[in-house]
């Protein structure tokens, strides 16, 4: 039933969009991409490697902290065990950090 409902709603959205949506056909719209990167790399295109690298590392370290949230919720109940768990977890993250640092991924090139 849910799948059926999902399909119906999905189809409805798609159809309503094409009926009610404003129509402004143009060259840009006929291009394969309306968003995202252009598909061809230009001759003098320079990719911001450092930018991507730092962004990716940020995402990873940022999202790992989410695991501290359930610990925080149950902190009182678990007591010392939670502390040890957290220390182990943080030290694993620290190992990852030291690795990234020693590998030179944090240098801005």
């Amino acid at each position: 039933m849910f799948v059926g409902l999902g399909t119906v709603v999905g189809a409805a959205f798609a159809l309503i969009n094409s009926y009610l949506g404003p129509r402004r056909p143009g060259r840009m719209k006929a291009d394969p991409y309306e968003c995202g990167l252009p598909s061809e790399v230009k001759e003098d295109f320079r990719f911001g490697i450092s930018f991507y690298l730092v962004a990716m590392l940020f995402i990873l370290f940022d999202i790992e902290v989410i695991f501290l949230y359930p610990v925080a919720v149950q902190l009182k109940a678990f007591g010392t065990f939670a502390l040890i768990e957290t220390i182990v977890f943080i030290s694993l993250l620290a190992v990852a950090f030291v690795y990234v640092w020693r590998r030179g991924a944090l240098e801005w090139r």
Binding site: F2, F78, G79, F81, V95, Y99, R102, R103
Partner: protein, 519 residues
Amino acid sequence: MTPEAPHIDWAGLSPIVALTAGGIVVLAAGLFRGAWLRRYGVPLLTLLTLGATAGLSIWQWGEDKAIVSRALAVDDLAMFLNLLFCAGAIAAVVLALRDSSPEESGHGEWHALLISSVLGMTVLASAQNLVVVFLGFELLSIPLYVMCATNLRRSKSLESGLKYLIVGSVGSATLLYGLAMIYGATGATGFEQIATALSSQAGLIDDPLTLTGIGLIVVGFCFKVSAAPFHQWTPDVYEGAPTPVTAFMAVATKAAAFGAFVRLFDVALIDAATNWSPLLAAVAVASIVVGNVGALTQTSLKRLLAWSSIAQAGYMLAAVVVADREGVEALAFYLAVYLVMNLAAFAVIVARERETPFGDDIRSLAGLGASRPALAWPMTLAMLSLAGIPATAGFIGKFTLIGATVDGGYTWLGVAIVVGSMLSLYYYLRVVAAMWLSDVPVPAAREPVPAIAGGSPELDAAADPEDGAGQDAGPDRPVSQAEATAVAVLFGAATLFFGILPSPLFDLARDAGSALGLL
């Protein structure tokens, strides 16, 4: 409700702890400056880690317990599969010793990725909880995506990495959605609670939520084991990835995915068997047909083995369909056999890729029987075994598979396996014929390779891996490939050994088969 600090069973957890620690140490060792340490120390540490894991798994043999709030099972099936993963990974490390992929991506990283992939497999093989199934799958797959792309200078490798990433992630997402549906239907994530819910609540088995969940899970698993309608990525990824990675991926991923497959379906969803067994049986037959037909026209050996692995996935799925102790036994046995014969074949491909200018084309094997019997015999045995010729391990494996399907009331699946094997004879024998019946081709790209003819020093080296290590020739001359030859000979001999004397392996498989508590 006040939770207490859980009791931690360190002994049961020890293989996982060993792998984690080993991965960190290997990663750190890769940071040191000494080139020698990076080139030889890192693989050595990796081998130590894998050996320790295998040892700890043997130590835990027969324990049969559930740890971490019953989320992980430490039983003989999991430990048996652990041994397979370690064997596959050790072979990959040895084959990669002189490969360019660890060189280009960093030795520490390459080996740490390998170890974390093995860690994911270990977790997956003992997973008894939906969360752990998903976690294990991702921990297995994500390092493999990267490892496929580790030949950073070869665009094929990068392409295969991206393809595998996209297809694999679609598989994971589908699997996850299916797992979410099962959780929604039963309200539990532990396998035992799911089984209880399915057997106790009337109508839950035919609930649309359960059915959708099972369907999506089957699709997700089919992506991972490369079964028929979702197999398209397999030849491309196998061909593009560095060959040692392909070897590891082919044998170990399959073992891990089938381990989780059989545990999930034969433990948690066993009461819904009437709903999923026709589906899986259809997938099995489709895989057998598609894989064997696809392999007929291949000229690249890696692509040929990829298509053959699709067919073999179909054979093994038949054992999951049966859903009894005999089926699990046959599956465990066949997984081990599959590992042995495929590693022999891939080791030969690795050696020939480096010796000839033909890459993994079937021409690279031409005339191998006369020039390099030490490579030709393992390859011959592997091919005959994959085809299921008597006196090889593959024959015994197929025999037990067919026996399990017939006893389980799926005689027609057994017939499908037989027909598929007959079809597969054509392309496996083509490889054998290329080795023994055709002459050494004149290499077009480079100058003729003189060392191919002089077989005797390599032969002696092949018998003893220690001896051959010193024989490194310069880059101009083809290297003797002692370690790849040694791997090939070892696993080729194992193929023959288990074909004539299968009882030791069979005893292990019987222990593994009885672990799930099925009839």
